[in-house]
Amino acid sequence: MSLRAPGFPRAGLGILLAVALAYGLVIGVRALYGWDPVLDGDAVLQVALIAAPFGFFIGFGLFDYWFRWASGAPTVPEEHSSHGARSWKDYFRVNTDHKVIGIQYVVTSFFFLLVGGMFAMLVRAELAQPGMQFVNPNAYNGLFSVHASILIFLFIIPVFAGFANYVLPLMIGAPDMAFPRLNALSYWMLPVAGIMMLASFLAPGGSFSTGWTAYAPLSTEAPIGQVFFTIGVQFAGASSIATALNFLVTIITMRAPGMSFFRMPLLVWANFSTSLLVVIATPFIAASQFFVLLERALGFNFFEVTRGGDVLMYQHVFWFYSHPAVYIMMLPGFGIISEILAVKSRKPIFGYRMMAFSLLAIVVLGFTVWAHHMFVSGMQEWIRVPMMITTAVIAVPTGIKIFSWLATLWKGVLHLDTPMLFALGFVTMFTLGGISGVMLAMIPFTIHVSDTYFIVAHIHYVLFGGSLFTIFAGAYYWFPKMTGRMYDERLGKLHFWTTFVGFNLTFAPMHLIGIEGMPRRVADYAQEFAGWNLFISIASFVVGLSTLVFVYNMVVSWRAGIRAPANPWKALTLEWQVSSPPPIFNFDTIPTVVGGPYEYGVPGAVHGVFKGAEVKTTATPAGAAPVGD
C-alpha cells in the first residue's frame, strides 16, 4: 500500500482531501459573508459531490501524465500505460488500451443493467396489486427515477461506447484510439456517476424522485437527493462527450490505407453519427443541470416565474438534448444490427450508401423534433404542428433502414444463432416501437395518451425491444473476439426466447391499459387495471430471470468456454482478421483495405489484406456499394 503511487489507496486519500476541501471552502465562504450558521450540510454535500470525483481521478493516477506535461517536466511512461491486461487486477487500474477500456466499459455497464433491472423488478412488485405493498409513494418515485437514470446514463449510452471502444479501432485498422489517456478518463467517470446516483438513496429525504427528466421546478425544490442526479449526470455527460470526440478524431484521422468513408463498416458509420450527436447535444443537458444546480445552490432564478424566469425553458433545453439522446441510444444499435444481419445472412448489406446517409439524416432531423415531448406542457401552440410534421418525417430515414435490413435478409442463407435471433427480434420489436412512435407524433392521439402506460410501452419497445436487443446481439456477436472463448449457444437461445416472450407479455398489454387511461409514474392505480398489472408483473419477472441465464452464460463461458477461433462467423470486417482476442497493438502490420466490408457471397471478395499477403480483388463488387472514391 503506497500513498505515493497511483491506485486505490491514493484515490481514497484524494477523496478525503476533496471532502476536507469542501468543508473548508464552505466554512470559509460562509464566514466571509457572515452567514449563520457557518457550516451548512447541504452546501458541503454539493461541493463535495463535485470535488470528490476529482480527488478520486487525481489520486487514481488519471492526471499524472498531464500534470508532468503541464509543469514542463519530461513525461514518463507510467506503469499503467502499458497495453493489455495480464490479470483481472489490471481492469481495476488506469489502462490506456482501448481493448481493456472496452471491456471495462461493457462489464461496468452490464453491472448497472442488473442494478437498474432490479429496480424495475421492485417497481413491478409494488404494482402487482392495487394499493400500497412494499414501498411508500415517495420511495416508489425514487425507484423508477433511479431505474431510468441508471439504465439510460449508465447502461445504454456507455455500453455502446464500450463495444465501439473495443471494435471500432480494430474495424478501421488503427492500433488504438486517438487519445488513449482521455479514453481512460472517460471510462473512470462512469463508475463515479453510477455510484453517485445509487448513493442518493442514502441522502436525507430519499433518492432523487423526479424521473430521469428532473423537470424544474420539481427538481429545484426536491430534497437534497436530487443533486446526486444533477451532478452525477455531469460526469456521465462529460464522459460521453470525451468519448465521442475521441471516436470522431479516431475515425477521421486513423483509418487504414484504402479505408475510404464508403468502405467503413456501418458500425463505424453509426458511431460517427452518434458521436456527432453527442458532441452537439450533450452540452445541453449539462447546461440544464447547471441551471438546476445554480438555482438550488446559489439561489438563481432561471425558472422562478414571479421574478421573470421561464419554467418551460428547462423542458426546451432538456429535450433539445434528450431527443437527440434517444438516437444516441439507438444509432450504435443500428450499426450492430447491420453487421450481424449481413454476416448471418451471408449477403451484402442492401443499400449501403443509403444506410450511411440515413444515419446522417437522423442526426440532422434529430435536432428538429424536441418539442414533441412537450405537446401538453402548455408551450406556444404554433410549435406543435411543425413538430408533429418533423416527427413524422424522421420515421422516413428509420424506415429506409428497416427496409434495407429486410432486403438484406431477402433470399439470404440465414444462420439463426443467438446474435441473429436477437437481431431479428430487434427488427420486429423496434418496428412496433417505431409505429407507436408515429402514433405519438399525432397531436390528438398524444394528448389522449400523454403520461399513461402507452408512453411506458412505447419507450420500452424502442429502448428494450430496440436498444437492449441490439446490445445483447452485439454482446453475443463479439463475445468470441473480446474474450477469446465461445459462449454456450443453447443457453443463448434459451435467453433469447425467454427474453423475447417475456418482453412482449410485459410491455404489449401496457399499450392497452395506457389507452384505457392508467397513468404512469404513480404507485397506486384503479381496481379495473388489477388483472393486467398482475399479469405484467409476472411476465416482467420472467424477463428478470432470463437475464440471469445471460449472466450465467457469460460468466461460465468466459471462464471455461471452448477457445474461439479468429473468425468464427467468417466475417470480412477487419476485427475478425486478427486473433481472438487481438494482439496487444491490434495489428502487426497495418492492413490495407481493398474492397467493401460486406461482400458476402461474392466469390473471392476481400475487404482488407495484410502486407505480404497476395492482393486479390473481386472483378465486380456486389450490391450497391461501389468500390473507390
Partner: protein
C-alpha cells in the same frame, strides 16, 4: 467537459512517445487540433443553452432588460472587451514568434497574453462586486451572472492552459518545428475571446 482541454498534451515538442505504434494518417487534419475544434463545438453548445435561457427570459417572457433599477456598466465592459481582444492579438503574435524561432518574442507574447487575461478576469470580478444586484434578485440578474460567469470560467480554464504553456515557453520547449502545444491552447484562447464578443453584445449592448 473540461476533459476535452486535456487532449492537449499530445502536442508539444519534447515529449517522448509513450503508447501505441503510429497509425496510418488518413486525414491531413492534425488529430489534437481536430480534437480541440470538436471540443470547442461542444463548448459553443453549452453557451448555446445559456443563450437559450437568455432568450426565454428576455424575449419569450419579455422581461425588462436590464432589470428595473439596475444598470450594466457598458463602458467598463467595453474597455474589458478591448483588453481581451488585444490578448488574442498577442496570442497570435506568440505563435508567429514560435514559428520564427524568436524566443524573446515568444516569452514576451505569452507573458502579455496571460497578463491581459488576468486583468480581464480581475475587472470582471470587480464589476460583480460593484454592480449592485445579485443572481437571486431577478431572472435577468441570474442570466447576467450565468452568461458572464460561464464565460469567466472559460477565461479561467484558458488562463490555466496559458500558464502551462508559459512554463514550457520559458523552458524553451517550442520552436519553429514544434509549436503544436502552443498553437492549440491558442485556438482555445481565440474561442474564449470570440465568445466574449457575443456575450458582450447580447448582454451589455442589445
Amino acid at each position: 467537459m473540461e476533459a476535452g482541454a486535456l487532449t492537449l498534451p499530445h502536442g508539444g515538442g519534447h515529449d517522448e512517445h509513450h503508447g501505441p505504434p503510429p497509425a496510418n494518417r488518413s486525414s491531413r487534419v492534425d488529430a489534437p487540433t481536430l480534437g480541440m475544434l470538436l471540443f470547442i463545438i461542444s463548448e459553443i453548445m453549452v453557451f448555446g443553452a445559456f443563450f437559450t435561457a437568455y432568450f426565454f427570459i428576455r424575449v419569450v417572457q419579455g422581461a425588462e432588460w436590464p432589470a428595473e433599477g439596475t444598470h450594466l456598466p457598458q463602458a467598463i465592459a467595453g474597455v474589458n472587451t478591448a483588453i481581451l481582444l488585444s490578448s488574442s492579438l498577442t496570442m497570435h503574435w506568440t505563435v508567429m514568434a514560435a514559428k520564427a524561432d524568436n524566443r524573446a518574442g515568444m516569452r514576451a507574447g505569452i507573458f502579455t497574453t496571460a497578463l491581459l487575461g488576468f486583468t480581464f478576469l480581475f475587472i470582471q470580478i470587480n464589476e460583480y462586486v460593484h454592480i449592485g444586484f445579485s443572481p437571486s434578485d431577478s431572472a435577468q440578474g441570474s442570466i447576467f451572472y450565468g452568461l458572464t460567469g460561464l464565460h469567466g470560467a472559460h477565461v479561467f480554464i484558458g488562463l490555466m492552459l496559458l500558464c502551462f504553456v508559459a512554463i514550457r515557453v520559458f523552458r524553451g520547449h517550442f520552436s519553429s518545428a514544434h509549436h503544436r502545444g502552443l498553437e492549440i491552447p491558442g485556438i482555445y484562447w481565440h474561442f474564449v475571446d470570440i465568445m466574449w464578443v457575443v456575450v458582450f453584445t447580447t448582454v451589455y449592448i442589445l
